[in-house]
Symmetry: C2
Amino acid sequence: MPAPGRPRGFDRDAALRSALRLFWERGYEAVSISELTEAMGIGARSLYTAFGCKEELFREAVELYGCTPGLGTATERALETAPSARAAIEAMLRDNAEIYADPESPRGCMVVLSATNVSADNESVRLFLEQRRRAVGESVRARLAAAEGEIPACADLDALADYAMTVLFGLSVQAKDGASVAGLHKVIDAAMLGWDGMIRACA
Amino acid sequence: MPAPGRPRGFDRDAALRSALRLFWERGYEAVSISELTEAMGIGARSLYTAFGCKEELFREAVELYGCTPGLGTATERALETAPSARAAIEAMLRDNAEIYADPESPRGCMVVLSATNVSADNESVRLFLEQRRRAVGESVRARLAAAEGEIPACADLDALADYAMTVLFGLSVQAKDGASVAGLHKVIDAAMLGWDGMIRACA
DNA sequence: GTAATTCTGCAACGGTCACTGCACAATGGA
DNA sequence: TCCATTGTGCAGTGACCGTTGCAGAATTAC
């Protein structure tokens, strides 16, 4: 039983995916409504009817990014399935590196890069992504805290988590600048030696 | 003997510093000409007479950032004055961290953050900063290559340099998100253990 | 003084921005 | 068939974008 009224003439999910890709590639403010309507294959009026306004569309696109397998879910999945804290951090970095440098997709992480600088009017958008970055950091911290026995009691969990996030953020910039998947993995090799060093230095 | 014609009615250097601060804080596209003229205390016509156009003004601001002691010179200075490759990398990270989280200045690195996403028309601006980031990476690489004997011959200098740059980039994002100086230093503690691990793993 | 040169304030330029009012189209239910 | 509801195309809204033409102001050289 569809809702009453004229049915929507386009695939809302597909249109949202097109918007996601555009926002991911060039950022929130740098993408105009007319570019969006062209990429989504709809008129401006339909965009507003379906998604409300540009900011709401962006937020929905970020949500979709976050819950799409192979994109934003990589971090969560790595943290949940890896058998140890160390393996979780490494999997998080490596799986994301593959996504960041995938030639089929925009480069780097949408959450890190798509609203780093905005005009005063759109500060709320920047804060929205900042909060999502913070939430990822919290997840990492929680995963470390749950690693009973594996990490020496004297270790600074906050510093470990911040270190992992810093490397993750840096990988996005490197990928945007054209780094290869192999190059990113070499960086992660070094980063994991940093992890081991921190654990060893404390024990 | 000043040049003929009506003399400029404002301090060009001071105006450029105001523009630098604004671009640093919010990025190239997110800052409008009217915001610039207000901050610089001049009319739009004077801005164009003195600086050419918005993009040229931005490039000059980035140059100024790069050659101002306590800002963009920190990296170069650290690489030149530190007594060892390891000390050079550590000084580069720590000195920049102090700048990135300085409460008196915009947060993070202007070169990393002020043009990460731009509209299609201004891609040249993004590429300009990308090239500057690349140049810094080259400087780091060169410093490591010059560290005769200190680094084992089997070490991957490219990976070491890319690792240092990745951490440096990540620190900018962390600072923009509000990280404290102390927090950044803890991250660098970890990062330097990564450095030591890479050296040790190879030797 | 006059000419040449440069800078500045004013008032606009065409273009694009995000967004919307309105008439009409397309559906479901009575 | 007629109504209620919702989506869509068209044509615009006012605001702001980066930029500029022009007249006049301020200086040096003569």
